[in-house]
C-alpha cells in the first residue's frame, strides 16, 4: 500500500519487545471500545457519555469502586488460574467449574462445623478461615487435576475436558443448594445458607484480605516463571512438549502440576466471591453469573501474554469495565447483557490483534532499495 512518498509493508517480527506488546494490547482494547460504541449508538446512547459513566462509576464512585476491587481480586485469581497452564501450552477454560468447586469446599467446611444453622454456637474464625481457604483451593485443584491428569497421561484434549467439568460442577452446585440439597438455605429459594458473621473474611479498609492472596500469587508466579527450575520446565513444555521430553522434562507431571496450581487459585476465587465479599456471603441463586465472569480470565490472560504481573493492571481495568458495563445497563436503560457483550467484543478484537504480535507494518520510502528483503522469510 502506498501513502505519499512512502510504502507500507507487512513484515514478520523477529522479536517482540515488552513495549511493543504493551502498545499492541492497548490498541486492541481501544479498538474494542471503539467497536463497542456501535452497540451504544444502536441503543441510541452517546458512546462517550456511556464510557464516561462506566469509568467514573467503576473507579471514582463510592459504591462502584468496592465492586471493582472485589471483581479485580476475583479476576486476578481466575487469570492466574488461566495463565499457569497457558505458559505450559495448555488451555484451562475450566476456571468456572474450579471456582464452583472452591465455593462448594468453602461451604462444606462451614457445614461440617454447623454453620448452616443460624444462631448456632459461634464459630472460631482463627481455625475456620484458614480451613475454608485450604479446602477451597483443594476443591478447585482436584477438579482441575482431572483435566491435567488426562492430558498428561492420555493426551486427552484439555479444552473439552475442562469445559465438561464446568458443566458437571455447575449441576453439582445446583444439587447442593437447590431443593433437598444439604447447603440449601433454611426456607430459602435455591440458594445456600448464609456465612455466619463470626467467620466473615477480615476486611482491611473495607477490602477483603483475599486481595493479598491474589496479588501475592501473581508476584510468586512471576518469580516462579522467571527464576525457578520448575518455571523453566513449564515454559519449555509450552514452547515444545516433544523437545521438553527429550530434555528430560516429564510430559505427565507438568500438565498435572500446572492444572493443580491453576485450579487451586480458581478455587480461592470461589472462596473470595461467595464467602469474603461484603454483601454476598452465600452461594446465590444466580451463581452462574459469577461463573460466566471467570471467562474474562481468558481474555486477561491472553492480553497479558501470560505475564502474571502485567495481569494486575489488566484485571483491574477489566474488572472495572465489567462492573461499569452492568451499571450503565441499568442507568441508561439498556437491555440485559451489556457486560456480556463487552466481553465478547473485547475477545474478538484481541483475536484480530494477535496478528500484530507476529507482524508489523513498516514504512519504507518508495524507490529506496531494501537490501534485507527476503532475508527473514
Amino acid at each position: 500500500m502506498r501513502v505519499g512518498n512512502y510504502e507500507l509493508k507487512l513484515e514478520k517480527r523477529l522479536t517482540l519487545t515488552n513495549w511493543e506488546a504493551a502498545i499492541i494490547s492497548i490498541l486492541a482494547i481501544i479498538f474494542a471500545l471503539a467497536l463497542f460504541s456501535f452497540i451504544f449508538t444502536l441503543a441510541k446512547i452517546n458512546p462517550l457519555l456511556a464510557y464516561q459513566e462506566i469509568f467514573s462509576y467503576a473507579f471514582a464512585n463510592p459504591y462502584g469502586l468496592p465492586l471493582t476491587i472485589n471483581r479485580f481480586i476475583f479476576l486476578l485469581l481466575c487469570t492466574s488460574a488461566f495463565i499457569i497452564p497457558f505458559r505450559a501450552g495448555l488451555w484451562n477454560i475450566g476456571m468456572t467449574g474450579q471456582l464452583y468447586a472452591g465455593a462448594l469446599g468453602t461451604f462444606a467446611v462451614l457445614f461440617a462445623f454447623g454453620g448452616n444453622v443460624p444462631g448456632s454456637a459461634d464459630l472460631s474464625p482463627e481455625i475456620l478461615i484458614p480451613l475454608m481457604l485450604v479446602v477451597a483451593a483443594l476443591g478447585g485443584a482436584v477438579l482441575a487435576a482431572i483435566a491435567g491428569f488426562l492430558k498428561g497421561k492420555f493426551n486427552v484434549n484439555e479444552i473439552v475436558v475442562t469445559m465438561m467439568l464446568n458443566f458437571i460442577a455447575f449441576w453439582l452446585v445446583a444439587q447442593m443448594i437447590k431443593e433437598g440439597g444439604p447447603f440449601k438455605a433454611p426456607g430459602g429459594e435455591g440458594q445456600s445458607f448464609v456465612v455466619s458473621p463470626s467467620v466473615y473474611a477480615p476486611l482491611i479498609m473495607n477490602v477483603p484480605f483475599t486481595i493479598f492472596l491474589a496479588l501475592g500469587a501473581a508476584v510468586l508466579l512471576s518469580f516462579l516463571f522467571a527464576r525457578t527450575k520448575i518455571g523453566y520446565q513449564i515454559k519449555a513444555h509450552g514452547h515444545n512438549p516433544a523437545a521438553a521430553r527429550y530434555a528430560g522434562i516429564s510430559t505427565f507431571k507438568i500438565p498435572l502440576l500446572v492444572f493443580i496450581m491453576g485450579g487451586a487459585l480458581a478455587g480461592l476465587a470461589g472462596y473470595h466471591y461467595f464467602a469474603a465479599v461484603p454483601g454476598v456471603y452465600k452461594i446465590s441463586s444466580n451463581y452462574g453469573y459469577f461463573g460466566d465472569l471467570a471467562f474474562y480470565g481468558i481474555i486477561c490472560g491472553l492480553i497479558s501474554l501470560g505475564d502474571p504481573l502485567v495481569a494486575i493492571p489488566v484485571t483491574l481495568l477489566f474488572g472495572g469495565l465489567s462492573v461499569g458495563g452492568r451499571f450503565v445497563q441499568g442507568k441508561l436503560h439498556m437491555g440485559f447483557g451489556v457486560d456480556y457483550a463487552l466481553l465478547g467484543v473485547l475477545m474478538i478484537a484481541l483475536v484480530a490483534f494477535q496478528f500484530f504480535y507476529r507482524y508489523k507494518i513498516v514504512r519504507v520510502s518508495a524507490g529506496e532499495e531494501r537490501l534485507d528483503v527476503g532475508v527473514h522469510s
Binding site: W91, I146, I159, I168, V351
Partner: protein, 291 residues
C-alpha cells in the same frame, strides 16, 4: 416411549449437523473450537428472524448465513492472518456467548409459532441430516473434491505442490462447516426447544467437538456417536423413564458430560488408537504458510 425416541433422534440431529460442520473443518486441517459460539449465533439470530417475520424458512436461512459468515471470520483469522486456531475459536465462542446474551435478551421467551410439520413422526431435519451424513461421507471418501480436502488437511505443502490451492480449499471448508453449525443452532431454537433464554445451549457445541474427535473423522461414526449422545441427553432430562427415583435430577444432568470425558479417554488410549487406527488429519491445527 415413541415420543422419547423421536425426541432423542431430533436431539441427535443437532449434534450431527454441528459435528459434521466441525468434521469438514478438521478434515481440511482447521480446528474450530468455537462451535458453541457459532451455534449460539445461528440459534439467536435465527430465532429473532423467525419471530419477527413469522417465517421458519427465513429463520433457518439466517442461521445458516450467520454461521457461514462466522466460519469465514474464523477462516480469515486462522488462514489469512495465521492466528492460533484455538485462540480464534475461543474468540468466536466468547463473542457468541457474550453478544447473543445481549442481542437475544429482548426476545426472551417462547417462539409461539405453529410447530414445524413432521413426516412419519420426525421433523424434516432428521431426513436432511441423514442425507447430509451420507453425502459428506461420499464426497470426502469417494470424490476428487474429498481427496483435495483430505490432502490439504494431511500435508498442505505437498498438496500445494501438486497444484491445489490450500487456502481456497480451507476457506471453502470453514464456510460450509460454519453454515452447518449455524443451522444446528437454528434447529435447536426453532424446533428442538423453541424458547430463547440466555446461554441456553449449555455445552451442546463442546459435546459436538468431542464427538468429532470420537468419530475418528468419519461422518458415519459421527452419526452413531450423535445418536448415542442425543439419547443420552434426552435421558439426562428425563431420568424417570429408566431409573425412577435413583439420583436427583441435577446429578442426571451431569451424566452426558461425564460420559463425554469417558469416551474421549477411551479413544485417547494407545490400545484404541492401534486397534482402530484413528485417522487424525496430520496438519490439524497448524496454519499453512506458503514458502
Amino acid at each position: 416411549m415413541w415420543e422419547f425416541i423421536a425426541r432423542s433422534l431430533e436431539a441427535s440431529m443437532i449434534f450431527t449437523f454441528a459435528g459434521l460442520g466441525e468434521l469438514i473443518d478438521q478434515r481440511s486441517g482447521v480446528l474450530n473450537v468455537g462451535i458453541e459460539g457459532l451455534m449460539l449465533f445461528g440459534a439467536t439470530l435465527g430465532f429473532i428472524a423467525a419471530l419477527s417475520t413469522e417465517n421458519y424458512w427465513l429463520g433457518l436461512l439466517v442461521g445458516i448465513a450467520i454461521g457461514g459468515l462466522l466460519g469465514l471470520l474464523h477462516g480469515f483469522f486462522s488462514i489469512t492472518l495465521g492466528v492460533d486456531q484455538v485462540v480464534s475459536g475461543m474468540g468466536i465462542w466468547i463473542l457468541g456467548f457474550g453478544l447473543t446474551t445481549y442481542i437475544g435478551n429482548p426476545y426472551t421467551g417462547p417462539l409461539g409459532m405453529e410447530r414445524i410439520p413432521t413426516y412419519l413422526g420426525l421433523s424434516p431435519f432428521f431426513y436432511v441430516g441423514i442425507a447430509l451424513v451420507v453425502i459428506a461421507w461420499f464426497v470426502l471418501s469417494k470424490t476428487s473434491l474429498g481427496l483435495r480436502i483430505r490432502s490439504v488437511g494431511e500435508n498442505p505443502s505437498v498438496a500445494e505442490v501438486s497444484g491445489l490451492n490450500v487456502n481456497k480449499t480451507r476457506y471453502l471448508c470453514v464456510t460450509i462447516g460454519g453454515m452447518l453449525m449455524g443451522l444446528a443452532g437454528a434447529i435447536y431454537s426453532l424446533y428442538y426447544n423453541p424458547v430463547w433464554n440466555y446461554n441456553f445451549l449449555m455445552g451442546w457445541g463442546f459435546i459436538a467437538l468431542a464427538l468429532v474427535f470420537f468419530s475418528m473423522w468419519n461422518p458415519l461414526i459421527l452419526l452413531g456417536g450423535s445418536l448415542l449422545f442425543g439419547t443420552l441427553w434426552q435421558l439426562s432430562l428425563n431420568p424417570q423413564l429408566v431409573l425412577p427415583g435413583v439420583l436427583s435430577r441435577y446429578i442426571w444432568r451431569t451424566v452426558p458430560f461425564v460420559i463425554t470425558i469417558g469416551a474421549l479417554l477411551i479413544m485417547s488410549t494407545r490400545w484404541f488408537r492401534i486397534r482402530w487406527g484413528a485417522a487424525r488429519p496430520e496438519a490439524l491445527g497448524t496454519p499453512y504458510v506458503k514458502e
